[in-house]
């Protein structure tokens, strides 16, 4: 399985021209609240190509998280279509891994046991992932993110940054095709965040999975992504896309170079004045 995902990356270049891994076509999403319904997304079009890291940026409350719920199959669109590998998503497909701003680890489980949680439920359990295999993979991941020492520690013994590393590893332990990250570094201090950017880059090289990263930090978006999509305020839609051409892995100093800041400035412009872009 490990090798299968790795080979996906190698063929990523060819697949970009082919079928996107995930595609949104004219998607609208309406939440029915108790008193009123809110339109979270409207006429949203977006492709996620195999092997890429796509960052989605936008103001808070613009429906970025709804995007992830749609890809994962937790929520179905009100209209339009969400397709994975060309097939409409009608239920959770079990091909995604997720991490959020809160690490939300289980406090009674050690780091290793927390990592293994996704292999104990749902399709992974029913497909009979062998335990020894999963444990070996978990240890590999812990080594990748520099947490080998913390294998048998409880979450309360870990710092916020370490917990978030565990959460990232948990999101990829079952070898998902698609890694969905919802502001995973939002609650960390600036230096820990920089560290974790490095961790995410390493994890991505290691697993080769496709990543959708939701963030409101433009530097983070440009630093990590191959492509950045800008969402309008609610109801959300994609109003702008920018490619980030820099080679990987990237280095923190690149953030201050002019070609880098040119991209962030351009993106910032499209977030502050969505109306101009729409017209």
């Amino acid at each position: 399985m490990f090798f299968m995902t790795a080979s996906t990356t190698e063929t990523a270049g060819e697949r970009v021209q082919g079928v996107p891994l995930a595609e949104f076509r004219d998607v609208s999403l309406r939440y029915d609240g108790s008193s009123e319904s809110t339109l979270a997304l409207e006429h949203l079009d977006l492709d996620v190509h195999p092997g890429e890291l796509l960052a989605v940026v936008g103001m808070s409350g613009c429906g970025k998280s709804s995007l992830l719920k749609l890809i994962s199959g937790l929520v179905l669109p009100t209209s339009g279509s969400v397709k994975i590998h060309g097939k409409s998503v009608t239920r959770p497909l079990g091909i995604v891994g997720m991490a959020f701003q809160k690490a939300s680890l289980l406090p009674w489980r050690t780091t290793l046991q927390n990592l293994l949680l996704p292999t104990e439920v749902g399709s992974a359990r029913r497909n009979g992932t062998r335990n020894g295999e999963a444990v070996a993979r978990a240890r590999d991941l812990l080594a990748t993110v520099g947490l080998t020492e913390a294998e048998n520690k409880l979450p309360k013994e870990l710092s916020g940054g370490m917990q978030q590393r565990v959460s990232l590893c948990r999101a990829v332990i079952h070898q998902p095709e698609l890694l969905l990250l919802d502001e995973p570094f939002g609650a960390l201090d600036a230096f820990t965040r920089e560290e974790l950017w490095g961790v995410l880059q390493r994890l991505r090289e290691e697993t080769g999975c496709t990543v959708v990263l939701i963030t409101h930090d433009l530097t983070e978006a440009v630093f990590l992504a191959d492509r950045v999509a800008v969402m309008s305020p609610r109801p959300g839609r994609i109003v702008y896309e920018a490619a980030v051409p820099f080679a990987r892995p990237r280095h923190l100093d690149q953030r201050y170079q002019t070609d880098f800041t040119a991209i962030t400035a351009d993106l910032r412009h499209h977030i502050s004045q969505p109306q101009e872009v729409l017209s």
């Binding site: 239920r91 959770p92 079990g94 891994g97 997720m98 289980l106 949680l117 996704p118 749902g122 309360k156």
Partner: protein
């Protein structure tokens, strides 16, 4: 052991000793009659004199309490799980349960006596009725604390509701469950003694009523002592279990 740790350990002992010393000398100094407030030494003497009946009645009360509490653990956790698991069950059952809980249990004892006669059974039932509600509320609350993100993570992998319940909900409700046990067990104790004082011919509650009928005030206090000691032991026992079994929840 550091000095501050030792002071922490000794502090409760010193308070208790000071309490009894004050009591002893206060009653001696003011010459309080024994049938109003006996001195601690009178009470100890009475405990020695009546040791074997005290022991017998205390043991009976303990068994009544444990029996009632055992039922209440089952009843409380089952109802708590149902109410915490299903929103519909929560809405359907909660008003009834709250109404039931707000009825003072002493008021139920006469009815229980009509149904079951004098003795042990009303005491067991009272102990159970008075102590199951905190368990229920805590288990239900514990189940409701599962973070939404984690639910999303697992549901996106195709986890069933039952898997979420077993892997996440149930264990996360454990600290709440054990915290409620130590509170509830003292309540169960209150329940069985209430019932014994109203209508029974055995148990520490009965012993105290009988003693007060004879104006044997030192023996009434001896009963109170025994109750207090048993209460502390039960509380500490469950607090110990809590610390052992859900250590992960404490910093």
């Amino acid at each position: 052991m550091s000095r501050s740790r030792r002071r922490e350990r000794l502090a409760p002992l010193i308070t208790i000793l000071a309490f009894f010393a004050l009591w002893e000398f206060g009653t001696r100094l003011l010459d309080v009659p024994v049938f109003i407030l006996p001195k601690p030494t009178d009470i100890v003497a009475s405990m020695q004199r009546w040791w074997s009946p005290l022991q017998m009645h205390a043991l009976h009360t303990l068994m009544t309490t444990v029996a009632g509490f055992a039922i209440s653990i089952v009843l409380g956790s089952v109802l708590g799980l149902v109410v915490g698991y299903s929103k519909t069950a929560h809405q359907a059952l909660y008003p009834l349960l709250i109404g039931f809980n707000s009825v003072p249990k002493v008021a139920l004892v006469p009815i229980l006596i009509i149904w079951f006669g004098l003795g042990t059974i009303p005491a067991i039932i009272t102990a159970c009725l008075i102590s199951f509600f905190p368990i229920l509320v805590n288990v239900a609350t514990g189940l409701a604390t599962v973070p939404q993100e984690l639910e999303d993570v697992l549901r996106s992998l195709g986890a069933r509701k039952s898997e979420l319940f077993i892997k996440v909900g149930l264990p996360s409700s454990m600290p709440y469950f054990f915290a409620s046990l130590k509170v509830s067990v003292t309540l169960a104790f209150v329940g069985s003694i209430i019932s014994e004082t109203v209508a029974s011919n055995r148990g520490i509650g009965y012993l105290m009523i009988a003693a007060s009928g004879r104006f044997d005030v030192p023996l009434v206090f001896a009963g109170l002592f025994v109750i207090a000691v048993m209460g502390i032991l039960l509380y500490e026992g469950f607090a110990f279990l809590e610390r052992k079994l859900t250590a992960w929840a404490y910093r």
